[in-house]
């Protein structure tokens, strides 16, 4: 292979950029100075310049190939526009006025209305279309009235504020119906045990509450601690729909963990709440289940020590 001088190799990029008029100023002056002295680079420059001029001709009189490219461009533009469009509807629900929004990619917004201003939708254009969203609303009503235990909606999590938030949301989405865990346990499962507050923040900013069940995540002491601003009652009602019992406290509720089965960290078994030292442990590493079916739907087996299969909790 012919050896290209170092100086020619170094100037190559600027040479192309200058020839196709994508640069100016000093780079350009340097290139012009170089090609005046270097015949091979001058040849190269001329070829790129000729190419650029021919491209200019393509621009003025489109050939079939250029039209094809233009059509491809238009399609990308349209796809981009569609993905930026948020269709939404506002409905009455047992939990108050609720807004549901979706993009072409999936459901991206569920919002309890009443307090606070309109949701901010960075980069999205909102279009009201109650009819399109009606099916989602009916499924949500079925869910809130206990006739459905899953909302299998495609989700668009672009409104999540960061990749970390998105990770927290994706993990929370896997907490099954009828189960409860703590912010600390979500942080632990993410491999970031110290990030408890960051997990709580991420769930506070959950763009799709109910669908991603952040109501199933509570404080390590079993207190519900927060939901949709200060609407802790909503969280309690959503948990009640799933059969999670709570006791009322001043300005909060606490999960009745003594009425639930327990999984310790990533154990393959579930226990009675009285098994071993579990009742004295905080919820930091625990997941609670309303029923044996719920625990077993996660692939867990009954503990061979406390035998929840032989001594089930009273319903």
């Amino acid at each position: 292979m012919k050896q290209v001088p170092q100086v020619c190799r170094e100037i190559q990029e600027d040479l192309v950029a200058t020839a196709v008029q994508e640069t100016g100023g000093r780079a350009r002056a340097r290139v012009q100075d170089h090609v005046a002295r270097c015949a091979p680079c001058r040849g190269e420059f001329d070829r790129y310049r000729a190419l650029d001029e021919t491209v200019g001709a393509l621009k003025r009189e489109p050939t079939p190939a250029a039209e094809m490219a233009a059509r491809a461009e238009l399609q990308v533009r349209l796809a981009d526009l569609r993905s930026r469009l948020l269709t939404y509807g506002v409905f009455d629900s047992p939990l108050g006025r609720i807004l549901i929004g979706r993009t072409e990619q999936g459901v991206s917004l569920v919002r309890f209305l009443g307090r606070g201003g309109a949701p901010r939708l960075p980069g999205l254009e909102a279009v009201a279309d109650g009819k399109e969203i009606g099916r989602l609303y009916r499924e949500l009503m079925d869910y809130l009235q206990g006739r459905r235990t899953r909302l299998e909606w495609p989700l668009d999590l672009r409104l999540a504020r960061s990749d970390f938030h998105r990770m927290v949301l994706e993990l929370t989405a896997r907490i099954p119906y009828g189960a409860v865990t703590s912010y600390a346990n979500v942080a632990r499962a993410l491999g970031r045990p110290a990030a408890v507050r960051a997990v709580a923040q991420a769930l506070r900013a959950n763009p799709v509450p109910i669908v991603i069940p952040c109501h199933r995540v509570v404080g390590a002491d079993g207190d519900l601690t927060g939901y949709a601003g200060k609407r802790i009652g909503l969280k309690q009602r959503l948990l009640a729909v799933e059969g999670v019992q709570t006791v009322s406290k001043p300005a909060d509720f606490r999960v009745r963990r003594e009425a639930m089965y327990i999984r310790d960290r990533d154990e393959a078994e579930y226990c009675l709440p009285t098994c071993g030292a579990l009742s004295r442990r905080s919820l930091a590493g625990l997941t609670l289940f309303t029923s044996r079916e719920c625990a077993e739907s996660c692939g867990l087996r009954p503990c061979t020590t406390c035998r929840p299969d032989l001594h089930p909790l009273p319903r």
Binding site: Q21, Y48, A50, D52, E53, T54, A57, T63, A65, V76
Partner: protein, 92 residues
């Protein structure tokens, strides 16, 4: 791009034909580029979009958009290597 003063006012039929051939070869080479390079190239050179806008449309950074355009230029240049570009068109 100022093109009216390129000395092509009366190019003669032969030069005109050469030029059209070159244009069609470039068009064909563009059509063969990988999607992102083709998009970046056409958006930049045929539609005059800036790299920021191209990056947004291709979901990449402005720097990557620029790199796609340059890659496209190199590929088209290689594709044309076997065929002579009309030198008569060149003016510096």
């Amino acid at each position: 791009v100022g093109t009216e003063d390129r000395g092509r006012a009366d190019p003669g039929p032969e030069a005109e034909t050469l030029f059209h051939e070159a244009r069609d070869r470039v068009g064909a080479a563009v059509a063969l580029l990988p999607l992102k390079q083709r998009m970046a190239f056409t958006l930049r050179k045929l539609h005059d979009l800036d790299y920021e806008a191209i990056g947004r449309m291709l979901q990449c950074s402005a720097e990557s958009a620029r790199a796609h355009v340059f890659q496209a230029f190199r590929k088209i240049r290689q594709a044309l290597d076997h065929s002579e570009m009309p030198r008569a068109e060149v003016r510096r």
